[in-house]
């Protein structure tokens, strides 16, 4: 069964450094998403992406964050200058184009980001 993959599984970085989290969505999906889950808190939406543009973003997704589809398979989340509070599990998800109102997001296993 096709699945979303994410690399690395764990990333440790120092405050102020740039990090790039990578995701390979399911191949025929057209919508891509990033969510995060700070330890002990709920999963929060960051951004959705379609047709090489941001479709929707949350208040969390400020100028420190950016997303990119650099090629036909990868989808990346960049944090320009990491803060301690960016430490979280980051989940990538993908979904097919809306068809008949059915809509389901498939999640990857996550990347645990630790900022020291």
């Amino acid at each position: 069964e096709p699945e979303v993959t994410q690399t690395p599984s764990h990333q440790v970085t120092q405050m102020g450094q740039e990090v790039i989290l990578r995701c390979v969505p399911i191949s025929n999906h057209l919508y891509f998403y990033w969510y995060r889950q700070i330890l002990g808190q709920k999963v929060e939406f960051l951004v959705s992406f379609y047709n090489n543009e941001i479709s929707e973003k949350s208040e969390i997704f400020d100028d420190q964050f950016s997303v990119e589809r650099p090629d036909g398979s990868n989808f990346t989340l960049k944090i320009r200058s990491t803060k301690l509070e960016d430490s979280a599990m980051y989940f990538c998800a993908s979904s097919e184009a809306d068809s008949g109102g059915l809509y389901e997001q498939y999640f990857g296993p996550g990347t645990r980001l630790t900022v020291t």
Partner: protein, 114 residues
């Protein structure tokens, strides 16, 4: 605006007994509702979804949920718990269109004892 409230942060059951995880939602639109499960050190897996078809939705691993508009509820049930059901469960609401955010509840930790 949409929101989800999971009424229990932790539920403990014995193996073989029924499971009930409670969820109430608030939505300005006709919502799509989901239950996701997260096993330790694993990603989020879709258990089941409601998208305005049948109000009783059957999912994987024997789970089901009933959409009750009058009560704005979408409780998750299973007749008989198994040890492998121990995990974190998230109730999720969305407007149901591609590209829009999923709004997660805080999660319910299900513990299953033998």
């Amino acid at each position: 605006a949409q929101s989800v409230t999971q009424l229990d942060s932790h539920v403990s059951v014995s193996e073989g007994t029924p499971v009930l995880l409670r969820c109430n939602y608030s939505s300005s639109y006709s919502p799509s509702l989901f239950w996701y499960v997260q096993h330790p050190n694993k990603g989020l897996q879709l258990l089941l979804k409601y998208t305005s078809a049948a109000t009783l939705v059957k999912g994987i691993n024997g789970f089901e949920a009933e959409f009750k508009k009058s009560e704005t509820s979408f409780h998750l049930t299973k007749p008989s718990a198994h040890m492998s059901d121990a995990a974190e469960y998230f109730c999720v609401v969305s407007v149901g269109q591609a590209g829009t955010a999923l709004i997660f509840g805080k999660g319910t930790t299900l513990s299953v004892s033998s």
